[in-house]
């Protein structure tokens, strides 16, 4: 991977995959996406994530996930993919107004 030398030899980083970083800010909360970084393996990705995303006690737990392991919905098919809940207001409590004024409901 690092056979060439000299100024063009910056490609060694290509061997370092892209990792997505998720941080749990405190107990009881979910891990939330914080950002991404490059690292050669999971152990280094975790260490780098600690240095990069938790310099001020932002987290009590970190997940790192290889970016190419994430399957994502296609932004272009937004309309059809997410259309199912449209027009189904009855899935929300606010749809039911006749019980207005009734306590603890």
């Amino acid at each position: 991977m690092n056979e060439s030398k000299g100024p063009e030899a910056t490609t060694d980083r290509n061997a370092w995959g892209l990792w997505e970083v998720f941080v749990r800010s405190s107990r009881g909360l979910s891990h939330v996406h914080a950002g991404s970084l490059h690292a050669p393996d999971a152990a280094m990705a975790l260490r780098n994530a600690r240095d990069l995303y938790t310099r001020r006690n932002e987290g009590v737990s970190i997940w790192v996930v290889p970016a190419d392991a994430i399957a994502a919905s296609d932004p272009d098919s937004k309309g059809s993919f997410f259309e199912s809940p449209q027009g189904k207001d009855y899935r929300h409590a606010t749809y039911y107004t006749k019980s207005e004024g009734v306590k603890h409901l």
Partner: protein, 335 residues
């Protein structure tokens, strides 16, 4: 082969029509998102010029953070106390972090990090002109924090609302961390200004040298900033260079009084008609010279960046070799 030619031509025409249709749909969606002041995300269709503008701006911003470590890192070993040393190290580490957040954001536009790093080292990429000025005394750590980080914050707060999602999110993180940078600089100047006459002189001298370069960080005057209008139409920029500069001058006028120092500009005034702060003339020739690579420290900064990159090569190689070996071992166990 010849019989296929018309068929290929048909297919090419059909492909190109399909592409045009996609572009038209994409443009319509892009225009709607911008008009609603919503955010564009990496996988959305975007005009080539929008992508190019962002890539240039975000990568230059990342380079500025990385090069920006140098003037201060140089003073870590000469900080006057353990407390100041720890603060300066934390600040320089933050700048590295900010560079990495921004490289990540730039990568989502389709540029590899290697290419950006290679361009910086080869001297092909630009970064903020401010980092090509030397940090001559300890008081410069104060003036850089107060004026340079102050100007950067002024610039960056509106960028938190930039229309490109990853850029805005990176800037939110940067701005949260940056406010300590300005305060620690202010505190250094405040302590020097209330110290011995020599210390006060150091503080004033540093403010004198950093004032004009800090004002120029906002970029050329509006009349001479051809790309600003388009960037504002795209909701990347929210305020013009002159608008931000004027706001910054107003803030500094207040703060310099608390420091007990003065700004080296006798023409600062509040214009009652425009309700804006005005400042004396700036040397834009100098700005363009520094940007073109002919500033006091350009060569030194790039040389240092190159050295650091080369010195780190064995670490990157060792880490990659270790990772490769570990993954081989895992496979052996599995087999």
């Amino acid at each position: 082969m010849e019989a296929n030619a018309p068929h290929n031509a048909d297919r090419q025409a059909a492909d190109s029509q399909a592409k045009d249709r996609q572009d038209a749909d994409g443009q319509a969606n892009f225009d709607r998102v911008i008009a609603e002041d919503s955010r564009i995300e990496p996988k959305d269709w975007m005009p080539d010029a929008y992508r190019k503008t962002l890539l240039r701006q975000i990568s230059q911003h990342a380079h500025s953070e990385i090069i920006g470590m140098q003037p201060e890192a140089n003073w870590i070993s000469r900080a006057p106390s353990l407390k100041r040393k720890a603060i300066l190290m934390a600040k320089v580490q933050d700048e590295a972090g900010h560079g990495l957040y921004l490289y990540s954001a730039a990568e989502t536009l389709g540029q590899t990090r290697d290419k950006m790093m290679a361009d910086l080292i080869a001297g092909k990429a630009r970064y903020s002109s401010i980092f090509n000025y030397p940090a001559l005394t300890w008081a410069d750590m104060g003036a850089i924090g107060w004026l340079v980080d102050g100007a950067a914050i002024c610039n960056q707060v509106p960028l938190c609302r930039a229309s490109y999602g990853p850029y805005g999110r990176a800037m939110v993180r940067v701005c949260k961390e940056e406010s300590f940078h300005q305060r620690q600089g202010f505190e250094i100047l405040l302590e020097l200004a209330h110290g011995t006459p020599e210390q006060k002189h150091l503080a004033q001298d540093a403010v004198n040298r950093w004032y004009a370069p800090a004002l120029m960080m906002f970029g050329p005057p509006d009349d001479d900033s051809p790309n600003s209008r388009q960037s504002m139409a795209w909701n990347i920029k929210r305020f013009s260079n002159d608008e931000l500069r004027s706001r910054f001058v107003g803030m500094m006028v207040e703060q310099v009084r608390v420091l007990g120092l003065t700004l080296p500009d006798s023409e600062i005034r509040f214009n009652e008609d425009t309700k804006k702060w005005e400042h004396g003339p700036l040397d834009w020739n100098e700005f363009h010279e520094v940007l073109a690579g002919r500033g006091p420290c350009n060569a030194q900064r790039l040389e240092r960046r190159r050295e650091a990159h080369d010195d780190g090569a064995w670490v990157r190689e060792a880490a990659a070799a270790y990772a490769a070996k570990q993954s081989l071992k895992t496979k052996e166990y599995a087999a």
